[in-house]
């Protein structure tokens, strides 16, 4: 596609429920990143995928967070047993190559009640 596409754009859920967020990277981009941005804050790195290599999960805040990506296609970020502190905008980015220029999607805004 023309840009990084994320869905849903907005998600409201109740505490304790599981949520799935989806990212469709720019076609041909081998690297894919997930970041989190809490209200009024900067961007926190969560996880990085590069081709078929093992992902870099060093930024995931707890074992309730997981992500998958098949090859160089769509990625899903799953948050289990959501907590109020998970409320944030989750941003996905892709780049043509590892450590290259990143392009971000418009984000998925998650609100946990």
């Amino acid at each position: 596609g023309a840009g990084v596409s994320q869905s849903p754009s907005n998600k409201v859920t109740e505490k304790g429920k599981d949520v799935e967020l989806r990212c469709d990277p720019i076609s041909g981009h081998t690297a894919l990143y997930w970041y989190r941005q809490r209200l009024g804050q900067g961007l926190e790195f969560l996880i990085y995928f590069q081709g078929n290599s093992a992902p870099d999960k060093s930024g995931l805040p707890s074992d309730r967070f997981s992500a998958e990506r098949t090859g160089e296609s769509v990625s899903t970020l799953t948050i289990q047993r959501t907590q109020q502190e998970d409320s944030a905008v989750y941003l996905c980015a892709s780049s043509l190559r590892s450590a290259g220029e990143l392009f971000f999607g418009e984000g998925s805004r998650l609100t946990v009640l």
């Binding site: 870099d56 220029e101 990143l102 971000f104 418009e106």
Partner: protein
Amino acid sequence: GIQVEQSPPDLILQEGANSTLRCNFSDSVNNLQWFHQNPWGQLINLFYIPSGTKQNGRLSATTVATERYSLLYISSSQTTDSGVYFCAVISGSARQLTFGSGTQLTVLP
């Protein structure tokens, strides 16, 4: 890990004024990007500039890698320039961008 510091944290300008935003980083970098986050939250790529100077319309950027800083210049500012400007870098063996805390720019009509 690498530290990224941006200054000033907040900046208020009158429309038409010029400004300079600064980004200092603590180690050598492979990638440096400037982004504008508009009031709707969208991150817009401004420059990919690990070294050298680039210009795009009213905006220009310079990175002096040997002295570990980058500058973003905004000339003849417009109200649509308002938002948060982020500097982000990739250093060493890392593959992800590390972001600074941003500069909140408000341009008044």
